[in-house]
């Protein structure tokens, strides 16, 4: 992992990857990143000449699912080769070093690449009670993040936990979890959201950083626009059924068998920005909707609290839990006014002066 000499293409060539293979890969990656064909060619050339950056990977409140997703391809692909070729100087799950040695490696890498290394974070940061809910080597996640981010060129928040707080932040958020972007304000932060995120998105961001030395264009939530620019629904192959109003009503009805739209079964496709429908999962095999299950909306903030995975989008979350309180408050106000009215009416009665003929004359 310490070999830092030579360009990426050289290192790939040494591993037996041909230039055409690399170009093919770059064409596909550029296509996924929606780069125009001309830029795509420049991208391939620049990437070929790029040198390996140092990457420090911090894991906080997470489940390692993101790492699994990014590293577990069925067979070694170019993607994983690129991933392997970066200088991953610190990563709990993958590094051989442990304990004091591991922390020393992190500090050494920071010092050596100060201002240039890429900081990748997965997991959210607990803030409640001084951050005691997650510590590494006795250092709270918050302190380690703030310390490590100082020398970073940019930060990539991998997974919905790092990007938006994710599952740890779900109500009632017992650890006071926050997203990386809530804490890091002075460095560019890319959110690669998803639970887990699509591997190629991570590669795309890395490749872009390698090729152009900059981060790709981001959406309002800090996600690479190329991958999060359209909704699942926009690119869903079941979209024509939606447009025709053909919906599966249960998971085993005729509509489900016919592959009709899963909207009414709670699919969050229409409000979820991600590229599952085009990039797909498991080396391009399929994606959830193709397997017959609606989108959970995992790349969106607070998807866990968005009202239930199997509730249609057009159905409200849970509006009636305030009903009893509303009725009570209304009754209190009403009774209050009623009492005031009663008092007013009694006063009017008490103040009644019997009308006489004299009263009728103006």
């Amino acid at each position: 992992m310490n070999e830092k000499s030579g360009s990426l293409i050289d290192s790939l060539e040494r591993q037996g990857v041909s230039r055409r293979t690399f170009m093919k890969y770059c064409a596909t990656l550029a296509s996924l990143m929606a780069l125009p064909p001309a830029v795509g060619r420049a991208f391939a050339e620049a990437l070929a000449k790029a040198t390996r950056p140092s990457v420090i990977w911090l894991s906080f409140q997470e489940c390692t699912g993101c790492t699994e997703s990014l590293t577990r391809s069925h067979t070694p692909t170019l993607e994983s080769l690129i991933f392997d070729s970066i200088s991953l100087d610190y990563h709990h799950t993958l590094q051989a070093a442990a304990g004091t040695a591991a922390e020393a490696a992190r500090e050494a890498a920071m010092k050596l690449n100060w201002g240039k290394y890429l900081l990748v974070v997965d997991g959210s940061v607990p803030m409640k009670d001084g951050g005691v809910y997650s510590t590494i080597a006795g250092v709270s996640n918050h302190d380690m993040l703030m310390d490590t981010v100082k020398g970073a060129a940019a930060v990539v928040a991998v997974g919905t936990c790092a990007a938006f707080g994710g599952l740890p932040k779900a109500q009632p958020n017992p650890t006071g979890a926050v997203a990386i972007s809530d804490l890091v304000k002075d460095k560019p932060v890319v959110n690669v959201s998803g639970c887990p995120p699509i591997p190629v998105v991570m590669t795309g961001v890395l490749a872009h950083f390698l090729a152009f030395g900059s981060l790709p264009e981001l959406d309002k939530l800090g996600r690479p626009l190329a991958f999060y620019g359209e909704t699942i629904h926009d690119r869903c192959y079941r979209r024509p059924f939606y447009d025709q109003g053909k919906f599966a009503k249960t998971f085993d009805d005729e509509g489900a068998r016919q592959g009709w739209c899963l909207f009414e079964l709670g699919c969050k496709g229409p409000v979820t920005y991600n590229s599952c429908a085009t990039v797909k999962w498991n080396d391009g095999t399929s994606f959830p909707i193709e397997s017959g299950h609606g989108c959970l909306g995992c790349s969106e903030p607070d998807f866990w609290d968005a009202g239930g995975f199997y509730r249609a989008l057009s159905l409200p979350a849970n509006p009636l839990h305030v009903a009893a309180t509303a009725v009570e408050v209304g009754a209190v106000v009403g009774v209050g006014v009623a009492l005031a009215n009663r008092a007013g009416k009694s006063a009017a009665k008490a103040g009644h002066e019997t009308a006489t003929l004299a009263d009728l004359e103006k």
């Binding site: 055409r20 093919k24 996924l32 016919q258």
Partner: protein, 134 residues
């Protein structure tokens, strides 16, 4: 029971009407190629084409004289259409799943010519082989 036994009907709908627009785009790119010598390409993954659209497009473009099969990290095919200068380029991964698909409008697709660096190192290899002969 194999995966193929599960009756999943992925194919939906008929023509969406997007395919003819692709044809017009190809004509435009061809014009640029003849007039300015500028190559162009269309990323078919970026277009909302239904399988029916794709078949229609393939039918319209027809087959030309050249078909190149590449084995580069999964199979790739470069097929000349009935319109010279218009190529259908399809890349599969090692699992045989289509990863990207382009229509390239160019005299010869980028992937085909050998790279000067590769030629140079090839020459080096050849020379060493020749020297081994002696």
């Amino acid at each position: 029971m194999s995966l193929g036994d599960i009756p999943i009907q992925l194919e939906v709908g008929g023509l969406t009407g997007s395919a003819p627009a692709v044809l017009r785009e190809i004509a435009y790119l061809l014009e640029r190629l003849t007039r300015y010598g500028e190559a162009g390409s269309i990323d078919l993954h970026g277009l909302p084409l239904s399988p029916a659209d794709r078949r229609w497009l393939l039918d319209q473009l027809g087959r030309g004289e050249i078909e190149i099969a590449l084995e580069i990290g999964g199979g790739s095919r470069i097929v000349e259409t009935a319109y010279p200068g218009v190529w259908w380029v399809a890349h599969d991964n090692e699992q045989g799943v289509r990863t990207s698909e382009f229509i390239e409008v160019t005299l010869i697709p980028d992937l085909v010519p050998a790279h000067p660096d590769d030629v140079e190192s090839g020459l080096k290899n050849l020379k060493s082989r020749i020297s081994d002969l002696s």
